[in-house]
Symmetry: C2
Subunit: 471 residues, 2 copies
């Protein structure tokens, strides 16, 4: 256990008692027989419940898109507070997160020559605009970000850079890491070479005429140029016109804007099932509440919101409450740069060590096939007991033990929090990620039930065993 | 054979010679051994050629969308003429087709209450507009067109009718016939009940946030009300909000328009490989050249255009030309109501009986799995020889013998033309049909090669055998 001395004697006593108990059962099971039976009961309950689906349905139907600072975001915060209260959480509160509000505006892209055709485009998150008049310029084509980096300085003067590298489909989504640099860093690199704008092939694995947005960043000291993504079929179209070996001219109009003067307000929403013996010890399960302004954020990250809220509720519904506290953290402003997680690290800087273990859900559409960990070696061994409970659900326990929590909670992992990473099937996740197509129908109910069961069982196990996950 | 007397003695002589030959080989094969060998050669050639794909790539890249009467349509006609000439067709010509030009304008749909959300919508083809101010009204929900028909008169006054029936996925696409009535006839039925507009769930099998357009018709004497489709995920959203049992209010703005005063001009494009012995006898293979104004018309019907043009080219490329003429007909204005086919029936009224057999391609994404026919009983028996050549390609010959040709050519079938209908895998066709998503990437190259081979072999067989398909 990660023991945090407190001034509260009763708690300290509990901790000491627990240590004695832990010593007494060294080498035995982490959970008592009664607890093991309760795990089986919880497995059946959570596998048969559609609570997580109902939560996602409610969030996507009644709130919808919820970009940090937007009206939808404010509604989402209120929605989460209300739902946590209705679900019987012991404590529910919000912690303010501030940032800037970016407005998407309009996007228009057309090939002007040699063969005029409309392109489906979307501004990247945080991009500056072209002005109402737009930009008309010749395309300079690069097969990858590396090719763009290799272009001579000033070679792109008066041109629009175009990166056509396609993201590959993998169960673990690793094609994202191989391509997303074009989205995040492409604009400044293109600007450094003199380009007046950049368009990229959408970072997505689908073939839909829907472009993928996502955050981009400008480097200090380099001119800010407009940045957009075109859908995969439109990127194909551009490549096919470029194959004709004539100059391809593009018209691009983007009208996003950022309210620099107005502080955008949002909040991390936190709810707890308070531990009966070690209330200050936190088993943290998280997701992010915000989404992009396109789609209804069903997969990203309504699914995570539904899973962790339902998991806590299933544990709360048991006759006896968990020994440690189960804390559900719904982070604000993940999409625009992990602002909620950063604020959480500030707000809870004196309490980070109390987070005895944590896991987030922010990836995947299907069921979980793998559990990896980042914890102490003794804890790894003791966690095999959880592994055995999850194995019949199709979850393989991989003991490389170098994992971090996903997304926001990766910050807590980096600060030393023992972590678990549940790997779901992400083969189709990037078909929908950051698009208008991220809607309720993309949720796979059976995979969702299994994932909810896994988070429920993990939370119960971590909150009721006496394992010190740091050791 | 469907013998058409001509004034040309040589041709008549050829016909007579052929009849003698036919009598001499009664009960024998329809094709000589040499011709059978040529069929095998043609099979290999067409299965190894990507000509049909290259034609579709060219049409979608260099022309793109081509709604009847639009600039794209004019370019498509010129494209087809140029390509047919380049492919070595013996005769290439156009026949004017006229109609009215409909402009799509903008579509905007939003749920106003109880939970404001944007909906992805598209005007149905031919719809009137709402005016710039749009319409705000309560939704009246019907699970099907039949439910709407059963609504009492005037019960929809001041409301927007919404039909939520979903199209089912089937290999033969028959879910389309079960649902498309809502699109074609829904507006006038809703107007008859007093509705101020209608929206329907897209007639499509996908779950993409892309709505499906398609033609609709107004009944005479009933007020014309605006008609739109929303994407499947948006229809789900509407249904989910309606489940909350509060009034659901919608804002709908559509700004389409029709140039009633200006005659829109297009053309059927026709090309022939002239028969060596019976040039007046026509083996007709067809597709339609126009498309909707969304997408690039790759599947609908660029695929058909590519298949029939390539088939004729493969036959032309043989050392000896076919005995009968192979005529490729690229119909104009299919989407807006078979205007090209209607014009063809007028222009060729004295020649219909010369069309000894015909087939069109206007459905499906994958390879052909089935051949059905509508021909005379003797011809059916003789056509088994073709069936045997196609069987190794996975094509089953179904002898129910009541088929018509697809789409435009269905008019020729109705006028007595013996017909063949090749059934391709259409399981995914209605994922893309009439949407922005109908783009080149949806073409399955292997299925396309097989389909091109089948049309090539059919055309060769029909043009070189002496079968009278009407008998």
């Amino acid at each position: 256990m990660k023991l945090i001395p407190t001034a509260h004697n009763k708690t300290l006593m509990n901790l000491l008692c627990s240590c004695v108990l832990f010593s007494a059962v060294a080498g035995a099971n982490a959970l008592s027989e009664q607890q093991q039976a309760q795990m089986e009961q919880l497995k059946a309950t959570s596998l048969n419940s559609d609570l997580s689906y109902q939560l996602i349905e409610s969030l996507t139907t009644e709130v919808g898109p919820r970009l940090m600072g937007s009206e939808g975001d404010k509604k989402a915060v209120q929605w989460a507070v209300n739902k946590m209260k209705a679900l019987g959480f012991d404590k529910v509160w919000t912690e303010e997160v501030t940032g800037t509000l970016w407005h998407r505006g309009q996007a228009e892209a057309q090939i002007i020559a040699p063969y005029p055709q409309k392109l489906v485009a979307i501004a990247l998150g945080g991009s500056v605009g072209t002005g109402e008049q737009g930009i008309t310029a010749e395309i300079a084509h690069f097969a990858s970000l590396d090719e763009l980096k290799a272009a001579p300085d000033n070679s792109l003067a008066g041109k629009i850079a175009f990166i056509s590298k396609r993201m590959d489909r993998h169960i673990d989504g690793h094609g994202y890491g191989e391509t997303v640099g074009a989205r995040v860093n492409g604009a400044s690199i293109a600007a450094q070479k003199g380009a007046s704008a950049i368009i990229i092939r959408s970072i997505g694995t689908d073939n839909n005429r829907i472009a993928h947005t996502g955050v981009m960043r400008y480097q200090d000291g380099i001119a800010k140029v407009p940045a957009a993504a075109v859908s995969n079929p439109d990127a194909d179209m551009l490549v096919n016109q470029l194959k004709r070996e004539q100059a391809v001219k593009l018209y691009l109009k983007l009208t996003p804007s950022t309210d620099e003067k107005v502080k955008a307000r949002s909040a991390n929403v936190i709810g707890e099932i308070t531990g009966s013996e070690f209330p200050e010890q936190i088993v943290a399960i998280g997701a992010h509440l915000d989404s992009w302004d396109v789609g209804t954020g069903a997969l990203d990250d309504g699914m995570g919101v539904g899973i962790v809220m339902a998991a806590a509720h299933h544990i709360k519904a048991l006759a006896n409450r968990p020994k440690r506290t189960v804390r559900v953290i719904l982070f604000a402003a993940e999409e625009v740069g992990l602002l909620g997680a950063q604020q959480y690290m500030i707000d809870h800087k004196d309490e980070i060590a109390n987070h005895v273990i944590g896991a987030e859900w922010d990836f995947g559409t299907g069921g979980i096939y793998q559990m990896t960990t980042g914890m102490g070696p003794q804890a790894l061994s003791a966690t095999e007991e959880l592994g055995k409970v999850l194995a019949p659900l199709g979850v393989k326990f991989i003991k490389e033990n170098n994992a971090k929590a996903q997304s926001d909670m990766g910050m807590l992992s980096a600060a030393g929090m023992p972590s678990v990473n549940f790997a779901p099937d992400g083969s189709r996740y990037f078909d929908y990620h950051h698009t208008e197509n991220d809607t309720l129908d993309k949720i796979e109910p059976e995979g969702l039930k299994q994932a909810t069961a896994v988070y429920t069982l993990f939370s119960y196990f971590a909150a009721n065993s006496a394992i010190d996950f740091s050791k």
